[in-house]
Each structure stands twice: as structure tokens, then as C-alpha cells.
Symmetry: none
Subunit: 213 residues, 4 copies
DNA sequence: AATGAATGAGCTTTCATTCAT
DNA sequence: TATGAATGAAAGCTCATTCAT
């Protein structure tokens, strides 16, 4: 969302703002009541607006949910790209940055995670959703694969392939998210990061040596 | 379920069988259409029975879903206990066995995973579901924690705690399940196991040395 | 129900007993839950028998309800005839006897009244029910009309017709029944009888003179 | 309902009007089909509106029925109060007015009576209904008790108590209503009033002397 | 004659969607 | 644009009735 967007004429600008307002309300609703428990009326009420407003802006419920997922995906993508393109010194630092990103409060946030898992839960049944998820995931895997490759070559590590580490790492973050969702009480951001770091230290000992991540 | 259970009189037995038949149909339906897309009529049709049958045996939809989750949880629990109680030689072997279990075709089965994720997706909204999930998870974590502790002591490993490894491993399997669900095409059971094994080799090098898991 | 009925062979006798048992259960159910809230299953359960039993004996629900109403009507009719045919001395005594009958505990019983009013409540919609009710009522009115006529002639009362008194008296008992049903707490059998008696004393002063009825 | 109420804005006014329209349809349906035979769809159809409309305005069927009963009770209450507060000359005239009221065509109307009796039929099973009925009844009895007391004192009547007359009169009107419901063909408003009047003449001869009521 | 599992029509209720204002 | 009353399809659930045992 480039800053020029703010210069749109008031009508369009308000349209855009309404959209975000409604998507926001959708996220809150899904997080509170689950996908199945969220009605169009709930979303409208959460946004403090009237019944018909959601259909007015999103036509159908399916589209609202699709756009909401897309919104979250874009938001994450933006953060991911920024992390990746950071003028960071070394691949190992970038990789660690990506791991940190996934556990950052604004990303690893129960409200948003609830939405992701809600979608994933329906993913098998709704190919459209799966497509969005898969498309991004592939991009992330590719980037991580590349970083791991560089680290392995740099460190001359044997016994692991870049694919294995990539798989392991991305699985771990997904799993840690689930854990955050299911055990809100006992979940600890730092412990999670420590687990990830313990793995990095174990496979890439030359690149990760600090005691704390 | 002791073998004597099979000697139930035909009436009771058939009640029990019908229950399983309906739970089975429920799993298939959720897997095909998602939690939200599954109707009582769908389940009845899938089971080849009539409309009212599900309410007759489970009273409400909520209860049907609850019992289905419980059924899956019990099924997994049975396998987990069996693996844990196996007269296996060493903790390291048992731990590997548990990892293998999670990636075994009958466990890591898209149909069942779809159900698990469907529930997890609604977990935030339905405390009842979360309770079932959480209750078992705690048991598993404890068992794994114990195994890791023993391995660490046995190997004199420094730099990792049992909690970190447990967290990492259970997160990894959860994440690999999600991966299996979302990328059915590219998902590879052996690759997944290799990823897990690469981690084990890295953290517990003395205990896991084979090239292949 | 003449005593010879008891000599039927066991099969038939048991059929008859089942019928009464089920009608009894029906009365209890309607009284507890109302006509609308009474299901075939409720009746069977109340009778301590199995689901299908009611259809076996009464074929349809409508018939069960019809037979139950008929049963109550017959029971009342039996009592009414007995009172009417009593070798009572005078019309005034017989008339008072009929009034007493309507307020007798076994007749003016909330359980049974609930059933009568349940039927009356549906009477407009179910002509079959209305027919039963009307048919008996006419008979009673005729008998009372006759008694009142005799009393009026005997006393030389002017200013009231037999029809008016009959109407007033039968309306009063119906109304007192409703009162018994609606105000179980404050309802008092003796007060009710006193009200009726006060009317009799007022219209037929020569025939009813005691202080208490 | 003061005349200013009519100036409500069209939206609110229409809400109120729709409510009455639906209650009206409910009364018609109950009167035609009985409480048990009345479905939400029937009510909607009777009102010439769509399926969901009744739930939209009354949420549940139970509430619709409750509100309908309340509506009828309020309507009667209004008439009763008006009759009671009439600048009538004497208690005897007011009492007669109340009796007339109960037999007035708009009150003693088979359609409405069918509804009252439908509720009374379920009253034992539904405490909520009984409460509404009882609450009003008490008020009416009190008012009548008061009037009778004055008449008795004024006339120096002995042998009857105010309570007895009140009981007798209110029972009579209830019974006459039932009669109106059950015997629509032979029912005669004037005969009914004559019966009531014959009673009044008999107990309070000094106050009621005309040949016709 | 009796049982109780099974059926399926019908009911209440919910909710995405439409539309007059 | 925005509103919210209205719609009607579809869902969950109940229950009279049937039928194999």
C-alpha cells in the first residue's frame, strides 16, 4: 500500500477504508467465533455498520473470506520480502531473521493465527483457499532453500540437504503457530524461538553459536 | 478393547457398529467438504442411511463432531501408547518410533488430517474441542520430554534442553501434517521423515548415525 | 365395564388392560406436558413399555387421543347416569347431587381437567373432538333441563326459565373447572360448592334452605 | 395509545404494524387449526408474508405465542378498565356492564375464544401462560369482589358473600365462553346474558328488576 | 404380542442475499 | 453509498409410523 494511495479522491479512499474496516471485522469475528460461526451480520455488527454493507462491498460471503485471506497473505508477504531484501550481511542472518519474523508478536498473533488455521481447516474442501496458501508457501520455500544452500556450501556441512532443513524449519514454524493457538496459556514466544535456534545451532553449528538467539 | 467385547449381543453390537459407521462417514464428509460444509444429511447419505439416523444416535450435530474428534484422539492415543510401551531397547529408538508413527500412512492420512485441522481451525471458538486436543497433547509432550531427557543425559549433550527438542519435534510433526494437507501433490512421506531425522542426527549425533532413518 | 368383562380369556383381557394402561399414561402425559408436548414416545415411556406399542394398540396418534377423550367421557357419563338414576327423593336433591358430582375430587381433578381443556382448546380445529363433547353435553343439559322444569313447577317460581338455570349451572361448573385448573393454589372445593349453592338458594329459595350445601 | 403515537416515523410505525399484523395472523391460525396445528409457516402465509418473517420479528415460536396471549390479555384489560372506570351511576350498573362486556360480540368471539382456550389447554404444562392468565384474573376478581361488597351492603343482602357471587359470576362467563366455543350453532348471546341476569336478579333482587337485561 | 432401530416428512430456525428507501 | 426489513433456501432436529426380529 504505497503512500500515494492516500491521495485518492474521498469516495474511492473511503471505499478502500471500508474494505479494510470490514476485513478487520472479519478477522476479529473468525477469531472469536470460528469460520463456521461467523455470519455476515456478525461482521457488519463488529464493524458497527448495517446488515447489507458486506454484500455491498464484497458481493458474496465467499469473496469476503477470499479477500480476507488474500489480505493476510499479502500482509505477511510484505513482511517476508522486507526481511529477505534487508541489506543483511549473511544468509545465516537472513534465515534467522525469517524465523524471528514468524515468531514476532504481530505475526504470531492468536487472532490472525485463528484465521489462518480456520482457512487451513477448510482448505481441503475449498481449492481456492488452498491455492492462495500454496502459492505463497512455494515462494517462501524457494527463498529458504536458497539461503540454506548458501549456508551449507559456505559451511561445508554434510549429512543434511537444504531441502531437509527448509522442510524442517517451515514445518516447525507452522507447528509452533498451532501450539500458540491451542495452548495460549503456556505458550512462550522466547521458548519457541529457543527451540528453533537450538535446531539451527545443531545443523549449522559454525553459523549459529550464541547461547541465546 | 479386549477381545471379549466382540461377544456383545447382536443388538448392542449393532449399536456400536452403527456409531462407528456414522463416525466414519463424518470423517469422510469433513475431509471432503470441511467442517462448515458438512451437514447431517451429508453424513447420513455418506453412511447410506436415512436423514434422522444421526440425531437418533448422536442427538445433536455438536455431539457428533465432539464424539468424532474424541474417536480420532482415542485412536491416536492407542497407537501412541503402544509405541511408547513397546519393549524397545533404548529411548532413542522409542523416540524415533514416535516420529515414525506420526508419519505413518494410517496416521498421516489426508482424510484424517483434514478433520484434525478442521477442528483446530475452530478450536479458538470452541473451547470443548481445544480441551480434547490440549489434554492429549500434554500427555504426549510429557512422554517425549522424558525420552529426550534420558537421551540428553545418556549422551551428555550440552546446548539443548529436553524441552527445546520436544517443542521442536512436536512442532515439526504438526507442521509436516499441515504440509501434507496443503500440498498433497508434492508431499513425500520419506522426505518428511528425512527432515525429522536430519534434526535428530544434528542434535543427538551419537544416537542417530545411520544415513537413512 | 360390567364385572363379566373380567372373565375374558387372558389374551383379550390383557389387550383390554394394555389399552387402559396406555390411556392412563396418555392422561398423565397430557396433564404434565399438554397436548402439544405429548409424544407417542412419552406415552410409551410413561407406561413403561416400548416405542412401537402405542401404534400397535391404537394405530395412530389421532385415534389414541380420540379414544382417550372417549374414555374420559364414558367415565363421566357412567357417574352422571348413576347420580341421575339414584333413587333420590326429589328433583332438587338430584340436581344438587349432579352439582356435587362435578366438584367431587375424582371428577374435579387437575389431571383430568387438564386433558379436557386440552381437548377443548383444540376443539374448534378438530371437529371429531367437538362431536364427542357436544354429544354428551346435550344429554346432560336435557337431564338438567328436566330437573329444573320440575323444580320450577313444584315451587311455582316465576322470573326464571329452566333453560336459564340449566345454562347458568352448567356454565358455572365449567368455569369452576377452569378455575381449578388455573389457580391450583387458591382453589377450594368447598368454596366452589358454596358458590353454586348460593345460586341455587337464590333462584330456588323454597328448595334450598340449609346454610351449608 | 395517545394520538401522538401515530406520528411515529414510518420505520418504527411499520415495525409496530407488522407486529400486530403477525399477531393477528397468529390468532386466525390458532383459531382455525389450534395451537398444535399452527406452524410458523402458516402464520407467515396467513399474513401474506415470507417464511422467515415471524422469526425476524418474534425470534421464536414460543415468544410469538406468548406475545399473542399478552396482546389478547392487554386488549381485554383495556376494555375491562374502561368499563370499570366508566362514570356509571351505581355499582350494580357497573357490575352488569362487566357482564355485558364478557358477552359482547367483540369479546365473546369464537376466533379469540379459541385462542384463549388453546392457551388454557396448555396452561398446566406451560407455567408462563398460566402466569399471564392468573395475573389478570386476580385483578378482575378483586374489582368484582369490591362491587359485590358494595351491592350487598347497600341492599342488606344476607345468605350470600361477595366472594361467592364473584366466583359464581366469573365462573359463569368462563363457562359461557366455553359453550360459545363448543356449540357455535346453538349458542345465543341473548340467552347467555339472560342466564347471567337471572342469577343477578335472584341474588340481588332489589338491584336488578327489569324483565330483560 | 412386543420391541426398538430405522425412516422420512415436516417443523423451527438461521442466514446469505436482495431491494425499496 | 448506506440502511435494515424482507426473502426463501437450507439446515438441524423431532416424531409418528413402520418393520425386522
Amino acid at each position: 500500500m504505497p503512500s500515494t494511495a492516500k491521495k485518492k479522491d474521498s469516495r474511492t479512499a473511503s471505499r478502500e477504508r471500508r474494505r479494510e474496516q470490514l476485513i478487520d471485522a472479519t478477522i476479529k469475528c473468525i477469531s472469536k467465533r470460528g469460520l463456521g460461526g461467523t455470519t455476515m451480520a456478525d461482521v457488519a455488527r463488529e464493524a458497527g455498520l448495517s446488515q447489507g454493507i458486506v454484500n455491498l462491498h464484497f458481493q458474496t460471503k465467499e469473496n469476503l473470506l477470499y479477500q480476507t485471506l488474500q489480505y493476510l497473505a499479502d500482509e505477511y508477504d510484505e513482511l517476508f520480502r522486507r526481511e529477505l531484501d534487508a541489506p543483511s550481511l549473511e544468509p545465516a542472518q537472513i534465515l534467522l531473521g525469517l524465523m524471528r519474523l514468524d515468531l514476532r508478536p504481530s505475526v504470531c498473533d492468536r487472532k490472525k493465527l485463528a484465521v489462518w488455521f480456520a482457512y487451513w481447516g477448510e482448505a481441503k474442501a475449498m481449492p481456492t483457499y488452498r491455492k492462495i496458501c500454496a502459492q505463497y508457501d512455494n515462494g517462501y520455500d524457494e527463498a529458504m532453500l536458497d539461503l540454506c544452500q548458501q549456508i551449507i556450501e559456505d559451511g561445508g556441512y554434510a549429512g543434511v540437504t537444504a531441502a531437509q532443513v527448509t522442510d524442517a524449519l517451515s514445518s516447525m514454524t507452522d507447528g509452533l503457530w498451532l501450539s500458540c493457538l491451542l495452548h495460549p496459556k503456556s505458550w512462550d514466544r522466547h521458548a519457541a524461538l529457543a527451540s528453533v535456534y537450538s535446531y539451527l545451532k545443531a545443523v549449522f553449528p559454525q553459523h549459529y553459536q550464541s547461547t541465546t538467539p
